[in-house]
């Protein structure tokens, strides 16, 4: 069998292995945690895109998702909580030829990191943001966060969550983000394809992935084991690329509208606008 020509999928799988710091596996994530699925999809999309891994930089904040940076076998940074985006901004702005990806969690990106998210989106830095939304702060034991649905039970909402969550795609669109999509971890191929597309786009690109945290979220919200959450995603997701802002809203154990909500090209990135400025300054 060793002489047989390898299929695309086999080669993909091999390259996935190369892009992992396998000396660190098994990883820290819990049984059935969706983050690994997202990482898998990301690596495959990246491999398919045939981009140079030496130019890929993965920047994470702190959190379970934030541990991603520690498993990708490329230049990778596990920064401080909430600061992945400005850290990545520094890298990208200093060296625009690098391919900069921020891979982090909902709390990291939208709680403590919210300000950097909106301002980087506004400036349209050429950065791809993989936002793993598991409705909670997994790393610290399952408190509620800015994406926890109203009514959900977490360690800090024993009486049900009184907060209203962010509508991430709507927020991103209001900031002029050129590429906005949402998937769940059940959408293996759509997610992969979406990342693949996004890798080829320019500007601030945001992909929200609804992911399961069975350990600290699922078990408090009627989804005791990993499969329950996956089944929830399978049954309650609806693809709708032209969804309205209201449709994009997420409710407690309610339906999940997924799709590519925005994909426009030609908006100049911050880095492009700065190139121009440099030309002006130097003449």
């Amino acid at each position: 069998m060793s002489e047989k020509k390898k299929t695309t999928m086999e080669i993909l799988r091999e390259k996935v292995e190369e892009l992992l710091r396998t000396d660190r596996l098994p990883h820290v994530w819990c049984p059935g945690c969706g983050i690994g699925i997202v990482l898998n999809a990301f690596l495959r999309a990246f491999i398919r895109a045939k981009m140079d891994p030496n130019k890929l930089v993965v920047v994470s904040g702190i959190g379970c998702t934030g541990r991603t940076a520690g498993y990708v076998n490329v230049d990778s940074f596990h920064t401080t909580h909430g600061r992945a985006i400005p850290f990545a901004t520094g890298i990208k702005f200093a060296r625009p030829e690098l391919n900069v990806v921020v891979f982090s969690g909902d709390g990291d990106l939208f709680a403590i990191g919210g300000n950097h998210f909106i301002n980087a989106a506004r400036r349209n830095h050429d950065i791809l943001v993989i936002a793993v939304n598991n409705f909670t702060y997994g790393m610290t034991g399952g408190q509620h966060g800015p994406t926890t649905p109203t009514g959900a039970y977490t360690t800090t909402t024993p009486y049900g969550n009184p907060d209203r969550p962010f509508n991430i795609p709507h927020l991103a669109i209001s900031l002029g983000v050129p590429y906005v999509a949402r998937w769940t971890t059940y959408h293996l191929m759509q997610l992969q394809n979406s990342i693949y597309t996004a890798l080829h786009r320019k500007g601030f690109r945001v992909i929200e992935i609804i992911s399961q945290c069975p350990t600290v979220y699922g078990r408090r919200n009627e989804m005791k084991n990993p499969l329950d959450m996956m089944e929830y995603f399978r049954k309650f997701s609806i693809r709708k690329d032209d969804a309205t802002a209201e449709e994009m809203e997420l409710t407690y154990n309610g339906k999940i509208v997924v799709g590519v909500f925005r994909d426009v090209q030609g908006i100049p990135t911050y880095e492009e606008r700065y190139e121009e400025l440099l030309r002006r300054a130097q003449k």
Partner: protein, 181 residues
């Protein structure tokens, strides 16, 4: 008298709960002093799990196990990682299906129980830790049977109490039996 107990196993086996219950039983229901500490490390999620209990009649200073008097193990990796913590001549309690001791055990008194198997028989492997607590209570007498049960009762959701009671008694009786030997 300062007594040190260390529990070891895997995430999901209730190692933390076992330690907590033991310590609380001693402190609240036996009226002694106790400290309960656990390994919180993130890496432990789904991996190794361990907890420590110190019991004394007086105020406890150093709160962690230095030289365990008792070591309660429910996985092979725990055996590998923690055996050194047991003082010479100390008492080792193991789930006999999950821990295969090597020649080093000759320095210790070893008591074995198929705790997980018993638990499965009772209906759920999840109560293996409670079987073990019953066994521990019987073998060591460090905590009174009453106190231990009260601490379990207080901790476990009502609807699971019956199963846990069975588990506790099973372990306790098995311990009583073994101890005689």
């Amino acid at each position: 008298m300062r007594i040190e107990i260390k529990f070891g196993g895997l995430g999901g086996q209730g190692i933390i709960t076992a330690g907590y219950i033991t310590a609380k039983a001693a402190a609240i229901y036996d009226g002694k002093e106790s400290t309960f500490t656990q390994d919180y490390s993130a890496e432990a999620r789904g991996g190794a799990s361990t907890s420590e209990v110190v019991i004394s009649d007086e105020k406890i200073n150093y709160p962690q196990v230095i030289n365990a008097d008792y070591l309660v193990l429910m996985s092979q990796s725990a055996y590998r990682d923690y055996l050194y913590k047991l003082k010479k001549g100390g008492i080792l309690l193991i789930d006999e299906d999950l821990v295969k001791p090597d020649e080093r055990v000759k320095d210790y008194k070893v008591y074995k129980i198929p705790a997980t198997r018993f638990a499965e028989e009772i209906g759920n492997p999840i109560v293996a830790n409670i079987v073990m607590l019953g066994f521990f209570t019987a073998i060591t007498g460090v905590v009174s049977k009453d106190a231990m049960w009260k601490a379990i009762e207080e901790r476990i959701p009502k609807r699971f109490l019956e199963m846990n009671e069975k588990a506790f008694i099973k372990g306790y009786e098995y311990g009583e039996k073994i101890k005689g030997k």
